[in-house]
Symmetry: C2
Subunit: 314 residues, 2 copies
């Protein structure tokens, strides 16, 4: 990971001097670095040697992720991310639109440093899919007609796609057999779905101090995620209709009431089961590849997510 | 150009079904298609055969240009472009941010269909530079401390860069000698600067019916372009100070007064001279390459711009 940080810091010199400090600020929003970790772990060879191809690929996926965060914060009109001002707040939303574009362009530019076009092709296609997922999500805000199938499709595109391609690139660039690259791609996809459901659960059951943002923002902004789906299904009709008005923004949202109802009606357990089902599918994808050096590391990551979900139960 | 339209329409199938119609709508904003024309003309071989590599490269630059238009219209809060609703107006600015991203991602994805990474590398670097230019411009809005050097740098990045790379790709992909690709790159850069100065002139001296937007938007939004620079230099100090307040947005802009002053003080002629100087430099870049089949076509394009500038004089 320090190799990643050094690489990304070095890449700042490639930015035009006028926007270099702004790009540096955006790099500072880098947090858990899950996508780079997936690249490194999927390409794990059991040695302490740092593979420059993996560092480069990890930089590409992280930079794309950072670009999407810059744009997300504009749309959400968020002031803070990880307890720092967002780029949109600091530079204005117009400059932030362009800054996200510049980060994205540079990510693709780094991707062209590989000998063939395949990294660039995989990453640009993934990015388009991520955007497609986010567009659908944006257009559905405040709509109570979103169904579960649509929700699954949105998170598959907006989150699982970049997880998938990160795993694929790690395995592929480190010379793993083709079958393994396919297997870790499946693993990454399921892990991404699980991660997004977990993240949607955090919005209701996390601790504000730890996640660095207010709880219940999804409800307040009319974003229907799995905890809300399950609650809608389990509430008596009259109560569910009232909740639909809150989602549509016709009446103010009642977060405390909804949180209590989620607890009373076993919503947490139902969502936890959904996460676990995806994690089981993720582990299943690697079942024939136990001997590959990367496999135990990836399985460890899926176990970590199981523990994190359990940690929300309180 | 019809090959370009067919190609781009065909590419719509690659977009996720959820965003295909939105992408189709954005393609409809395609106007003069100057950048694709530069690709085709720079790669001209004197034959009627349509080179698929040039069509693909032309599609890439046009799609990148369309993506920047989608994002520009968000920032400018524009309702109309070419007498049609902007994507930002139609789908909301959040969806438009993401839609621009998706168009851009797909442009880069098409660029990976060439056998090597060089098209993708050239185009992603250019895009970052275009964004850098636009960021500087955005941050300088309403500032009267912008100097002429900064203005030159902004238009070199935001406009001339994509003109330059369009010419480069046309010559390079059609197998022209390296020296020629360099020469047309220089040509494209100067033509791009000339075009942007012309476009800035249109904002004051164009005809609303023809350009499909209100005159004087640059002054109203505090964007200092060459006509305003020249006017500031030529006005008596007290008047110039008053104009600076208009640029800074402290007082309402007085477009009619400023237009009359521009006419009285010879601003049009001064800016026309600046355009012509760039066009002379553009033509000069090709002076040793008269025998190349593409050269007469490119020179014809520079002559066309001379005529268009003269056409604004009224």
């Amino acid at each position: 990971m320090s190799a990643l940080d050094s690489y990304l810091t070095g890449e700042l010199d490639e930015f035009e001097p006028e926007i270099r400090e702004m790009a540096r600020y955006c790099l500072g929003a880098s947090g858990k670095k899950i996508r780079p970790a997936l690249v490194f772990l999927s390409g794990w060879k059991g040695s302490a040697i740092i593979d420059p191809d993996l560092v480069r690929a990890a930089s590409v996926v992280e930079l794309i992720h950072l670009a999407t965060l810059v744009h997300d914060d504009i749309m959400d009109e968020a002031d803070l991310r990880r307890n720092r001002q967002t780029a949109a707040r600091l530079y204005g939303s117009s400059a932030a639109v362009l800054l996200g574009d510049a980060l994205f362009a540079h990510a693709l530019n780094i991707a062209t440093q590989f000998p063939t076009t395949e990294v660039c092709a995989a990453v640009s296609e993934s990015t388009r899919r991520v955007c497609a997922g986010e567009i659908v999500q944006t257009l559905r805000r405040g709509s109570v007609s979103v169904n579960r199938r649509e929700y699954d499709r949105i998170i598959e595109l907006k989150t699982a796609e970049l997880f998938r391609v990160s795993c694929y690139l790690g395995a592929h660039l480190s010379g793993s057999p083709d079958g393994y690259a396919d297997a870790v791609s499946q693993f990454g996809r399921h892990l991404g779905v699980a991660y997004q459901i977990y993240d949607d659960l955090v919005d209701y059951f996390g601790e504000e101090a730890m996640i660095g943002k207010t709880l219940g923002t999804d409800l307040a902004s009319g974003k229907v995620t799995l905890p809300l789906f399950v609650l809608l299904e389990r509430l008596p009709k009259k109560e569910a209709d009232q909740l639909r008005l809150e989602i549509g923004g016709q009446v103010p949202s009642q977060l405390d009431l909804r949180l209590n109802q989620m607890k009373d009606l076993g919503v947490f357990a139902a969502v936890e089961t959904a996460v676990e089902a995806e994690l089981i599918a993720a582990r299943q994808a690697l079942v024939n590849w136990i001997a590959q050096p990367a496999t135990p590391h990836l399985l460890g990551l899926s176990d970590l997510l199981t523990i994190q979900v359990a940690g929300l139960r309180h």
